[in-house]
């Protein structure tokens, strides 16, 4: 147990940060979902053909992250066994209870879209395999092995509709996470109408970044040919969304500084004394300014493909760190000053324990295990493009 460092006067119940690293991880994973789904939709709805190589993967990535998006909450709750009451006996005025519904609707959309996209593969495998495997694929196909042209055409239409519904759902999902914080008038560091926008944009950039990093790793170690057009297109979208994201974050800070409300005194003290490194240096300087400039060069300047990919990859990793730092700085930062507006406290996550870093790491890695298993059953990077439902 780390010692809590305090300064100034804190209300007696403000000593501990109630929302731990688990609550930092929750919007981080949720954000990766939204971003990954947006990439998938860019291909399916907006016809960005360059993204075809990662379209299926991005959809499954969104699903895998979605499966684990709420698990950090279970490790945080005082009574996880009552967690489903949020769905069964909700209080409709609560932003949190609304999230349960949005989450489930979105999960259903993603699940359905995956099923329709992978249906030709499932049918083919159900026909080609035998024994237990055949039974598995037959179950996955829900017994629907009709693979005539008309059926696939209908599938296409459904996929388009689902992807189209999925975009606003993804936006709502992550905008809503921002709303959970932004709507709390009691906390001057959270209470801002810009918060949902910032959460949404940072979600999109983190989702694109993780796809870039995963795609590169899969190609490198899975002996797949990396599609330069595809990864360059992702760099372009990443840069565009990151410009918006950093602008919003900058505007948020500027508004705080310029308005200089009574609370700004303690918030600025908290930023400089408690989050000096993670906010100003890591989030703002290293992980915002560098990718912003370097991605600009990557997108606009002529250079060798290998250089372009390397630079873009470094920027993607930096952006993943930037978004994680942003989540930390918002969620933990908002709890480091007392509502007395006169004192600061501290929070250091433990390594072990229910809400420790080890569990957080395991939870973060679980979606990748899901993707790996999924890939064993249904390859994410199809080698027979003519048979797949795209």
């Amino acid at each position: 147990m780390h010692e809590i460092v305090t300064s100034g006067f804190l209300f007696p119940n403000d000593l501990h940060a109630h929302w731990s690293v688990m609550i930092v991880l929750y919007p981080y994973i949720t954000g990766l979902v939204a971003g990954a789904f947006i990439v998938s939709s860019l291909y399916h709805v907006f016809g960005v053909k360059e993204l075809k190589p990662v379209a299926r993967f991005s959809l499954v990535a969104a699903f895998a992250f979605l499966l684990f998006a709420c698990t950090p909450l279970l490790f945080h709750l005082g009574h996880p066994e009552r967690a489903f009451n949020i769905m069964f006996t909700p209080k409709f005025t609560s932003a949190m209870s609304g999230f349960g519904y949005i989450y489930n609707v979105y999960l259903l959309i993603v699940l359905l879209e995956i099923w329709f996209v992978f249906r030709p593969d499932i049918i083919r495998r159900a026909r080609e395999t035998s024994g237990l495997l055949k039974a598995l694929y037959w179950c996955l196909a829900l017994g629907a092995l009709n693979d005539n042209e008309a059926a696939f055409e209908l599938d296409h239409k459904i996929i388009n509709v689902l992807a189209a519904i999925g975009i606003p759902s993804a936006c709502i999902l992550h905008g809503y996470v921002g709303f959970l914080f932004g709507s709390l008038k009691s906390n001057p560091w959270w209470s801002s109408p810009l918060m949902p926008v910032i959460f949404l944009l940072s979600a999109i950039v983190s989702g694109i970044s993780i796809l870039i990093v995963c795609y590169w790793l899969i190609c490198k170690y899975g002996k797949l040919a990396l599609d330069t057009d595809c990864i360059t297109t992702m760099f372009k979208y990443l840069w565009a969304f990151f410009i918006l994201d950093v602008s919003m974050e900058g505007l948020e800070l500027l508004t705080h500084i310029y308005a200089a409300h009574e609370e700004w005194h303690i918030v600025s003290l908290m930023l400089s004394e408690r989050l000096g490194f993670s906010y100003y240096i890591l989030q703002m300087l290293i992980c915002s300014c560098i990718p912003l400039v370097v991605l600009g060069f990557v997108v606009l300047k002529k250079m060798q493909d290998t250089t372009r990919i390397r630079l873009g990859l470094i920027c993607s990793i930096l952006i993943l760190v930037q978004v994680l730092a942003m989540r930390w700085n918002v969620i933990v930062g908002g709890q480091l000053f007392s509502k007395s507006l006169r004192g600061l406290t501290s929070y250091t996550p433990t390594i072990l324990g229910r809400e420790g870093l080890l569990i957080a790491l395991v939870l973060f890695l679980m979606p990748f295990v899901v993707m790996y298993v999924f890939n064993l059953i249904l390859p994410l990077f199809a080698k027979e493009p003519e048979t797949e439902n795209q």
Binding site: F9, F11, P12, N13, D14, L15, H18, W19, L73, H76, L77, G78, H79, P80, R82, A83, N85, I86, F88, T89, P90, K91, F92, T93, S94, A95, M96, S97, G100, L180, L184, K185, S186, N187, G334, Q335, S338, K339, S340, L341, R342
Partner: protein, 248 residues
Amino acid sequence: MKHDRREFIKKAGWTFIGSGLYINLFSVGTSLARSSCSDMQNLYAFIVNTETCIGCGKCVAACRAENHVPDDCYRTWVERYTILADGSVEVDSPHGGEQGFEPLGLKQETIKKSFFVPKLCNQCKNPSCVQVCPVGATYVSPEGFVLVDEKRCVGCSYCMQACPYSARFMNPVTHAADKCTWCYHRIKQGKTTACVEACPVEARIFGRVDDPDGPVARLLASKRLQVLKPETGNEPMVVYVGLDKEVR
């Protein structure tokens, strides 16, 4: 075969919608029953007189004993404000003021003024905690008391983040949100709150607002009063006599 499947999907769909509706109607009933309570009148108010409080801490100790408040958690506490001659402000509340206050060790001439401010749940008319609770574990009683059902609370801490007064804590024994109830259990028995009973100087005054001869109604009618953080729109029902501008 085709028709069978269509029929099956149709029936499955209706079953899904039906069960969803059932669950939701059940929960809507609960929610409505509880939200209707918030339409009830706030029959009681709590007046804190900062001009008479001596910072003895007996109220904090009485509250802890009455409500079995765990160590390092506070349903009520007392703050000491010391305004120095140079304009700076010192605020402290060692152990929530439960054991009283040691002298600050400052020279008398350096102190402009000093006073004590007891704090407790404000039992707001528009409580943020009730608004944000995802399962309705925090609710408003028919008399206007904001209460927590510890058997329903999921322990998400959202209410603690939402309370502008930091009046709530996570009870380490029940793992549920906890806070001052204005001793609801005592009020229902016709008694007053434990802290009011323990206060030797009548710095804490509690009673019905609709009783014209009661102390609360008289003070509400005769004194100039202030509430904490009125800008939140929570409409707190704890009102202060002699509240200094430095108090948050």
